[in-house]
Symmetry: C2
Subunit: 204 residues, 2 copies
DNA sequence: TTATGGTTTAACCGTTTGGTTGACAAATTT
DNA sequence: AAATTTGTCAACCAAACGGTTAAACCATAA
């Protein structure tokens, strides 16, 4: 029929699979539901992707490929740490507001199967902390920021940016927030978070 | 046989169910596996808990009941915010090191079924932010800490404490850490995190 | 000793699951 | 236009699933 490698059928399967896997996870997802969502026969899923496992892998890799460049922005960019934190925080939160399912999906499935990350870690473009490490040491030496391990700072930045999306139902309940108030809180974090981090590490 | 409400069988089912549910989640867990783990017949699971759903609820509520008092420590305690942050951080991280599965389990299952939290929110002892809110406003007025929304501060504290456990596989990969190095990093956070937060909010 | 009532088991059941098959339709090649 | 390849479907399958049943088991009370 078509010669394009990306058949329209293949694309609609991937989109449907993305929606279902992200809502229900690997274990909770059903092949029949994905087929219905894509409005095709269940046999087609196997024709294009052979098995549930492989279809899931395709979806997962695509999701991860979306996230990775965002993280490389803070790890491999050349600007100062303060600038990086400001840019990353605004950009990352805007990005996740558009893909709210993403962090949860990746974290959940990586915990289910930690070896999974090895299938990704070999790819080039996989985020790596080396350059960031050097930069942190540099700015500490120059007296720009207080002494802190690059790994700890990196964890803190990730945590403050990602956690609210992951723990949304929990936070909503503890703080008595409805959906709208929670979204407003997250929106405000675009500025709040970078100020918080910079306050914590910058020498005035 | 026994008249105790907590039969040894019931206890061993709950323990087995905890292990299996925490590793595989509600959808990934199998009743047969729980039975094998508890070394009893599968029918016993239904005899004591009627259905998978109810068994899961029992495990989930128990897990949540373990976590809730930890959070109330920071929300409803009377000491100053600085003291609370210091105590909470050390205590909470020590606590989670002993129950590393907990945050992930609760977050994962709450995202799968957000209505679930309503079954818990009615209980007394359910964490609530009201008192903490007043305290934050107070210390801001007195010039002890910088202006910050209580909700934002609460999210930040939760994020910095909990996130590393939730995102462990991801962080390990990005920072090229083996299990031991990662554990050392987390251990160090008992002090790191409270310093970081206090640096960020305290007026010197 | 024998009823009694909670506890435990092996075997079973209907349904759902991921996956397969074989026939057929629509392109592509010859 | 015939032959071949690629795409699509309804029907099917064996295995796994959560849950049930009926009979056995066993400590205690009568």
């Amino acid at each position: 029929m078509q010669k394009e490698k990306d058949t329209s059928t293949e694309r609609s399967i991937l989109e449907a699979a993305k929606r279902v896997f992200q809502n229900k996870g690997m274990d909770g997802a059903r092949m029949q539901e994905i087929a219905d969502e894509a409005r095709i026969n269940k046999a087609m899923l196997h024709y294009y992707f052979r098995s549930k496992e492989l279809l899931f892998e395709a979806v997962f890799k695509k999701a991860f490929a979306l996230l990775a460049p965002q993280l490389n922005a803070i790890l491999n960019d050349d600007s100062s740490i303060e600038e990086k934190i400001k840019n990353f925080t605004t950009n990352y939160i805007s990005f996740i507001i558009k893909h709210p399912y993403l962090p949860n999906f990746i974290i959940q499935e990586l915990n289910r199967n930690p070896n999974f990350i090895e299938k990704l870690a070999t790819n080039n473009g996989f985020p790596n902390i080396q350059k960031f490490k050097g930069q942190v040491r540099d700015e500490i030496e120059k007296g720009i920021i207080i002494p802190i391990g690059a790994e700890q700072l990196f964890i803190n930045i990730m945590a403050l940016n990602i956690f609210p999306f992951v723990a949304k139902p929990l936070i909503k309940a503890f703080a008595n927030l409805d959906e709208g108030a929670m979204d407003a809180l997250i929106e405000a974090r675009k500025n709040e978070v970078s100020n918080f981090i910079i306050n914590a590490i910058k020498i005035k």
